[in-house]
Subunit: 212 residues, 2 copies
Amino acid sequence: MSQPDTKERILDVAEELFARQGFHATSLRAITGAAEVNLAAVNYHFGSKEALLDAVFERRLTPLNRERQARLDAVQAVAATEGRPLRAEEVLRALIEPTLRLYESGPGASSFILLVGRALSGSDELVRQTFLQHMGALFALLLDLLGQALPQLPRNQLFWRLQFALGATGHALRWAGGGLELPGGFTQPPSVEELIDMVVGFSAAGMEAPCP
Amino acid sequence: MSQPDTKERILDVAEELFARQGFHATSLRAITGAAEVNLAAVNYHFGSKEALLDAVFERRLTPLNRERQARLDAVQAVAATEGRPLRAEEVLRALIEPTLRLYESGPGASSFILLVGRALSGSDELVRQTFLQHMGALFALLLDLLGQALPQLPRNQLFWRLQFALGATGHALRWAGGGLELPGGFTQPPSVEELIDMVVGFSAAGMEAPCP
DNA sequence: GTCTATAGATTGATAGAC
DNA sequence: GTCTATCAATCTATAGAC
């Protein structure tokens, strides 16, 4: 070890700046300056700017995905013991709720939420690819469970509706993370609780829409 | 005039590169190189890189917004003569369909669709602000008409659901513009027609979801 | 592990000849 | 209007002293 955690301070600041300004718009100087560490520390501890981005994702996504996986398993188990099919609403909630609840786990996490919103919306291809490398397995499981919940929906339609739900969720995450200014001086953001209910309700209704 | 339209060629190339790589990741040298014009031409014709971005939006958004406005007016008129309330589905379609139909108006337009998707998702704050400057009035009208279509929905809920719909639409636009690679080697993109129906159907169902 | 110093490349913008 | 040449700033990354 070194200082009261140089590595951690770099991760905290990088997370915030990548989220608020984007990856390309954030220089190593901005990161090391705000973290009050030396410019060379990033390359010493992480190897490169890209590897730093990967580390930012890895730190939060490893425990978060563990929790999401557990909740998806639980949803499956409950439906099985109750002898009923899965509901799209509970599957989506198992995915979305742990993510948005990160918001309550401290000020740093809200930046991460914003960063995930960014990655979900594919704003920056490098950010998106790095994010997807940590998400591949979960995405496949998600598609499978939603297929069980909506067996009448053609697989093609299912895929695209899930994309729309991810688009809506990504947008919600950017709001929750404080990444967007309200247009036209509108109302203040809702509570995390309300936002979860709103985006899950919206997405579930969209997924269950009658087939055209 | 000069060459067979130096200014137009710069706009075409800038539109494509801003859409595919992002604003910050695109250098003036990349633009002028691909457009086969001199490096100094951008500053001569537009003044700065930011002013070029504004011109890219202005070129397509002025006629597009005129059409969207006309369609929203038409939807209102039809509902009035038929003596029935507005439907959320037709309001959303009046907004979304002209945008996605740009896709058929030539290869250049598909890049613009992708760029709008980018701007909608707030990936880059400068791109988003520039885009919003061209959209302010239409957004207010949209919120008003959706309020008429869903009078039982609290104004707060309405606002957020519209945000989710915009998130879903932005995601759809990025797919339609060819901006995202399909994860897990999935199926090919649907036709524009199908995509319009899917995203309008999804968003309308989400907006009309029962209030929690 | 942390620091200074700097290499080496790239950027947006401009001056001035033609 | 177009061109060359270049400035001044910025960037990532690294070498080498401590």
